[in-house]
């Protein structure tokens, strides 16, 4: 895929994304095209986004063409887990030097690819361009094409230099690479009428393992996981699925839409968080691809699971009832976490709508009720202000805000990429309840908020009468 202005504009205006469906308005919502603000921006770059979406492919090598900044500061820190290969956890980078910048880095890239093939022989290599190599005009596509022929291994260009945009755009650029170079290049051994793909689920903390058994139980086969705990091979035959299920994410929406266009595969958007959403997800899939029998099995499983869950959750529900949280996370996750929290009887008193689409915002409003605060923008200070104002009991947000909360002596739960606990599916909700309970009822809060005895001026010394 050549990275052209037109291509990027297309991705930004992705019709599958409701960001671009603002009612009564032509054109697009700011959320996608908005430019980062100097001095205020905090987010990741397009390269970051592309690697979030592709690195979970466990047996592929991921080679970053650029100076040390891009890979050196980030490799090995993604939270996606693998059930088998570990190649994806390795950091590969051309680590270009000043010489490469003067004379061009293509030769170094080609040689780098050859070295990886020789020593690690992965089934595929994803090659990422970055700001510097894009600026000096290295032709990634040409090098990858030549290398693919020479080494008879798919070498896939991902044109995602950081300066073209945000993480979100990077996700989509990754999707384009999969569409152009991977999907449709192999055939599965067999297919069934109940084959689906999961798109946009990255197996953070092993979440996909909480839901795969459910699918299996009702007789839905997950053909390709895109990309959490995926092999390169399984993505190649993703075009044979009957349905694409987009998980909690607008990020790879272009894949859903284009696979519908190219292969006639319909897509639905679902979430695995909370009882309601998990139930709905199973029902919707069954309704789209299933017969009566499958739908029946889904109902049975839902009944079983929710009954079990009610018993398991009862003690937590009692302890969590009416606890208030401020939720600060992007896009779809806001409402899916909100509904999970409400399953537990907790209240979301404020949440972010920064990255949310119009449709998400409507859902959020409904879940928030009339007193809830929708935070359009948010930095650490703003979050703390809202926590103070709403007297919230805790903050639920991405890891980057962890210390915002902790430093303010407020309980915190990590909901994003780097966490270690899976929250998806029915079992995930139990995990989430446990974590909420642990965070809120820890004995530490009293200690870290307690002033030293000598700071309480009013109180008289305890030993006053027993000293001479």
């Amino acid at each position: 895929m050549k990275l052209t202005k037109g291509k990027i504009a297309d991705l930004l205006n992705e019709p599958g994304c409701e960001h671009n469906h603002k009612k009564g308005q032509q054109g697009k919502n700011k959320a996608c095209t908005q430019q980062a603000k100097p001095g205020a921006a905090q987010g990741g770059c397009a390269f970051d986004g592309a690697s979030i979406a592709l690195v979970p492919i466990t047996d592929a090598a991921h080679l970053v063409h650029g100076p040390i900044a891009c890979a050196g500061n980030s490799w090995g820190s993604r939270g996606s887990l693998s059930s088998d290969a570990t190649t994806y956890k390795m950091g590969f980078t051309t680590d270009i030097s000043e010489n490469d910048i003067i004379f061009g880095g293509e030769k170094r890239l080609y040689k780098g690819i050859s070295q990886i093939i020789k020593r690690y022989d992965p089934p595929a290599i994803f090659v990422y361009s970055t700001c510097v190599t894009a600026l000096i005009g290295d032709d990634l596509d040409a090098v990858c094409e030549a290398a693919t022929k020479k080494f008879e291994t798919p070498i896939i260009p991902v044109n995602s230099p950081g300066f073209v945009g945000s993480k979100n755009l990077g996700n989509r650029l990754a999707g384009e690479s999969l569409l152009d170079y991977v999907v449709g290049t192999a055939e599965p051994e067999y297919t069934t009428p109940y084959d689906i793909n999961l798109i946009g689920e990255y197996n953070v903390a092993g979440e996909v393992w909480s839901v795969l058994p459910l699918f299996e139980k009702v007789g839905i086969r997950v053909l390709s996981k895109i990309t959490g705990d995926a092999t390169f091979e399984e993505i190649r035959y993703a075009h044979r699925a009957k349905l694409n299920v987009m998980i909690c994410s607008k990020a790879l929406i272009n894949m859903g839409r284009k696979m519908e266009e190219r292969y006639g595969i319909p897509y639905i958007e679902e979430s695995f968080y909370g009882v309601e959403d998990m139930n709905r997800c199973l029902r919707n899939i069954a309704q789209k691809i299933g017969d009566e029998a499958l739908q029946q099995r889904v109902e049975t499983v839902i009944a079983e699971e929710t009954a079990k869950l009610d018993i398991a959750l009862a003690p937590y529900r009692a302890r969590l009832k009416d606890k208030k949280m401020v939720l600060y996370t992007g896009g779809v996750k806001s409402w899916s976490v909100m509904s999970a929290a409400q399953d537990l009887g907790m209240k979301v008193v404020a949440t972010s709508t920064k990255k949310s689409t119009e449709e998400d915002k409507a859902k959020i409003k409904k879940l928030l009720g009339k007193d809830g605060i929708a935070l359009a923008k948010g930095n650490a200070k703003e979050i703390l202000r809202v926590i103070a104002k709403t007297k919230a009991d805790m903050l639920v947000a991405g890891g980057r805000n962890q210390y915002t909360a902790l430093k303010a002596r407020i309980p915190f739960l990590d909901i994003n990429q780097e966490r270690h606990t899976p929250y998806a599916g029915y079992v995930g909700l139990i995990e989430m309840a446990k974590e909420f309970d642990r965070a809120l009822h820890s004995p530490i809060w009293q200690q870290v908020r307690q002033p030293a005895p000598w700071e309480k001026v009013a109180s008289s010394p305890a030993l006053k009468d027993s000293l001479p």
Binding site: K37, G39, A40, D48, A69, N73, I96, I101
Partner: protein
């Protein structure tokens, strides 16, 4: 003399090094009320931030000029200006630490001219020092960026202090704290210097900003570290002690600028090295109390006692460390400090891998050192009893069934990186116990 080889590979596999801008930002974080500002695209800052946040488990203030494809081609002046104005408004910093990245260096933004014209347009910012350092990602590693930033910090003119703060009762010594030192190390160094009746002016002082402490307010700039008014006092120092060979440039700059003499201490662990440090302090403090340079150096009782404790610890631990083969992958200064200490304990430095060039590499206690990555370490480490590198070495250590001791950046999977102290007599003892315990655990 150690032979230095550079691997001939076209690809770094499991890189050991981090970028120079990350190092520069880290150095800036040791100043109070600063916001480090990356001139580049936003991703570089986000990655650096995530790495530092995970290492220190602290909120870390970093900002970006958020360059895009278009602004890169047009040049970064407008973005830099806007970023500075935005920061002044939102964080009210006392200082800004501006650093370049690979992108803007490749483009070739003329930073001097840009800063000059911003200064001209905004006289209202005259009070605000902007410390500038050039750190292209494609040249060197974290240690180089850190050293370059320290040099810029001491080279920058902060104007004369308001009022006559000059008569502090204590004599002042400048300590240039290299990237081999953690916040806990710096804390220890300050305590030692103060015990000699001297006033340490530490650059940079990470012990006040990322040491892990609770403040009462939320900070969008660094809550502690060396303050602007301290920086204005640099000229007053009697002497500069530079810790880590990479601090030489900064020490030299201070000498040129203020005529302050200096001494480089390439390491601060091990009995001999710490002795040397204390002896130096004793001489400096004796000089201040005594105009005729009558030499009456005094070592505080506390450290004499710690010294005897260390000697005892050396005796106790040598059974476990003697003859052990250790493979290390660390930045040059930290590699030098750690491998010499091991060598002095009777351990053998099996191999060394490092990130960047340094004159000190020639003086390592081993035959060969490779400027390379963790793949190189994986190839040469087999047969050693211990690996010392950052957290990224975990999987190779597991694979080779060799225990791992974590040092350097980043350390994700250990707590207390902000307060851990491995220098001085006390810190050396801690290190020896840590390593000894690893071997006891294994039953060696």
């Amino acid at each position: 003399m150690t032979t230095i080889t550079r691997n001939k590979k076209s690809v770094a596999v499991n890189p050991l090094k981090q970028s120079p801008p990350l190092g520069a930002a880290l150095a800036f974080l040791g100043l109070k009320g600063i916001v480090p500002l990356f001139h580049g695209s936003q991703g570089c800052t986000a990655f650096a931030k995530v790495l530092l946040v995970r290492h220190f488990r602290e909120a870390i203030p970093l900002a970006t000029t958020a360059m895009t494809e278009v602004t890169t081609i047009l040049g970064g002046e407008e973005n830099i200006e806007q970023a500075i104005l935005t920061l002044v408004e939102s964080a009210k910093p006392d200082l800004i630490g501006l650093l370049t990245t690979g992108l803007t260096e490749t483009r070739g933004d003329d930073m001097d001219a840009i800063l000059k014209s911003i200064r001209q347009r905004h006289p209202e910012l005259d009070y605000l020092p902007i410390i500038f350092v050039s750190t292209p990602d494609y040249k060197g590693a974290l240690q180089d960026g850190y050293a370059a930033a320290v040099n810029s910090i001491v080279a920058t003119d902060y104007g004369t202090p308001v009022g006559a703060i000059r008569e502090s009762p204590l004599q002042q010594v400048t300590i240039l704290a290299g990237s081999l030192l953690s916040p806990g190390d710096v804390e220890e160094i300050k305590e030692i210097v103060e015990a000699f009746g001297l006033n340490p002016l530490v650059i940079p002082d990470l012990s006040g900003s990322v040491d892990g402490h609770l403040d009462d307010d939320y900070n969008s700039k660094t809550p502690g570290g060396t303050s602007l008014s301290q920086l204005q006092q640099l000229e007053r120092s009697l002497f500069t002690i530079a810790i880590g060979e990479s601090m030489r440039l900064g020490a030299e700059t201070l000498k040129q600028k203020f005529g302050t003499n200096y001494q480089i201490l390439p390491r601060l662990t091990g009995l001999g090295a710490v002795d040397k440090f204390l002896w130096l302090l004793a001489q400096i403090s004796s000089y201040k109390t005594n105009d005729n340079w009558q030499f009456l150096p005094q070592i505080p009782e506390k450290y004499q006692r710690q010294r005897r404790q260390l000697q005892d610890a050396i005796l106790d631990t040598h059974f476990y460390l003697g003859g052990k083969k250790v493979s290390l992958a660390l930045e040059p200064d930290l590699l030098y400090q750690t491998s010499w200490l091991l060598k002095e304990m009777g351990a053998e430095v099996h191999t060394g891998v490092t990130t960047t060039k340094s004159p000190i590499l020639k003086e390592l206690p081993c035959d060969k050192v490779t400027i390379g990555d963790l793949e190189d370490l994986e190839d040469i480490a087999p047969g050693s009893d211990l690996i010392i590198t950052n957290s990224q070495g975990k999987s190779l250590a597991d694979k080779l069934h060799i225990p791992l001791y974590r040092m350097g950046y980043p350390i994700y999977d250990r707590l207390g990186n902000g307060s851990r102290c491995l220098v001085g007599y006390r810190g050396t003892m801690q290190f020896l116990f840590d390593i000894g315990n690893i071997f006891i655990e294994l039953g060696h």
